[in-house]
Amino acid sequence: MNRAYWMESKMELLKMARLKQYSLSTVAFPLMFYCFFGLAMAPFSQGATSMSKYLLATYGAFGVMGATLYAFGAGVAVERGLGWMEVKRASPMPPAAYFVAKGVVSLTFGALVVTLLFALGAIFGGVRMPASQWLIMWGALVAGAIPFGAIGLAIGSFAGPNSAANIVNMIYLPMGFLGGLWMPIEILPKALQHLAPWLPSYHFGQIALAILRVPVQGSVLGHVEALVGFGLVFAGVAWIGQSRDHQKMYG
């Protein structure tokens, strides 16, 4: 039993690491954006925080979101829609192993992106903070994969195999921008700022910023509650999708 969970996670990691659309783009995009905005604007600051430090938190959130949404959203939709999940279900695989393995991939790639971003920030962006703060921010960012895993699974449980990656793109990129992960939320027009609390990305970004002691909007506890709420709602949606799928018949 335990061996099945271990092997499923190991093979899922190998499979996704070799899949360049996934491994390269989830790692390269956040790093590239951080270079363009975070490092290039390092002399500027948002309030008392240098831009390179501020955006380290938000691009970390952005990177974790991407690693998770693609692993679950696109991954599940393709395997569900093209028959592979049916083959897995017909085998004696413990059903949870499939989802645990996707979670392991999300956490691993999320951790990789965050670690590389931190290295960029520390080496080229002049970001300095106590070790405990680095660690807490690292942990909070990586843990953020959990609610986004639920969102990805909800997408993957309903989207078609050919459209899933585009659907994830259409959700991921605007959600990053409008949630204040590309640039400080205060720079956005007021109308868009009012929209932000409806986006899980906004709450995730605000939590990461709070760890930097940047003055954030609302309370940290409120943002955590909002993320838990989003996670539960989408876990419910995903559950409906998965059980509907179970009843469906094709062929």
Binding site: M7, M11, L14, K15, V78, G83, S91, G251
Partner: protein, 242 residues
């Protein structure tokens, strides 16, 4: 005791009745071919015996147990699948599926039995159609099962690959395994099956050894026998001739 059994099984999907009362049983060491046109209910019957779908009424058992129970550990399945993950190697696919079973075959034995020696370190995406189908066969047998479900295993294969897979299936039966094979290739049923059940629009239209079915209909080949059975169901004829 039969290895797998359907008793009075019906399956309704909304307005569509996919199965309208099917009785079917597979004896130990037997290869039963389920033969019928597309949409006849073959895949539905297989899915019910695999525990992937519940019958609307009637009962399905595998080794005397519910199909979705621990009976899962004693059977393997080769299903129709449009896309298999391409960035895993043949050996990795086999190692993964072997880990699901309590007493799998040694990896090397599975590789040999499925005819994959020499290509076990290739990525799945780099294989030919026949090789891909042999990998799926390997995933079905790697747990050292007592029963195999093969849902149209040779569809889309060239003659050579089809014959090679037949040899693998015969090898499994020779070691005492039971098989439920669905196919719409009559030649395949004739070549492999101990017994054939012809299914049409959710009912068993005829059942017996290939010879019995030919005798029943007074035809010399299974193909003619199949057409004769189908001719009784006038509406089904068009489907068959497609």
């Amino acid at each position: 005791m039969p290895v797998a059994e359907l008793r009075g099984v019906t399956k309704r999907h909304g307005q569509v009745e996919a199965l309208r009362g099917i009785d079917l049983s597979i004896a130990p060491g037997e290869l039963l071919a389920l033969l019928g046109p597309n949409g006849a209910g073959k895949t539905t019957a297989v899915r019910i015996l695999l525990g992937l779908a519940a019958p609307t009424s009637g009962e399905a058992t595998l080794f005397g147990y519910h199909p979705a129970s621990q009976a899962k550990l004693r059977r393997g399945a080769l299903l129709q699948v449009a896309k298999v993950p391409e960035t895993l190697k043949v050996r990795e696919h086999i190692e993964l599926f072997s880990s699901y079973y309590e007493k799998p075959l040694p990896i090397a034995e599975t590789i040999a039995a499925a005819g994959l020696a020499g290509i076990e370190n290739r990525l799945f995406g780099a294989l030919s159609g026949g090789q891909k189908q042999r990998v799926l066969f390997a995933l079905a047998i790697c747990g050292n099962p007592d029963m195999l479900f093969l849902d149209e295993p040779t569809v889309g294969l060239d003659v050579e690959s089809r014959r090679a897979l037949w040899a693998r299936i015969r090898g499994f039966v020779a070691r005492g395994g039971s098989v439920l094979l669905t196919t719409h290739y009559l030649e395949e049923a004739d070549a492999l099956a101990h017994r054939v059940a012809v299914i049409d629009r959710g009912r068993i239209a005829a059942e017996g050894t290939p010879a019995e079915i030919k005798a029943q209909t007074g035809t010399s080949g299974l193909e003619d026998a199949f057409l004769a059975i189908m001719k009784e169901n006038v509406n089904a004829l068009e489907e068959v001739l497609q």
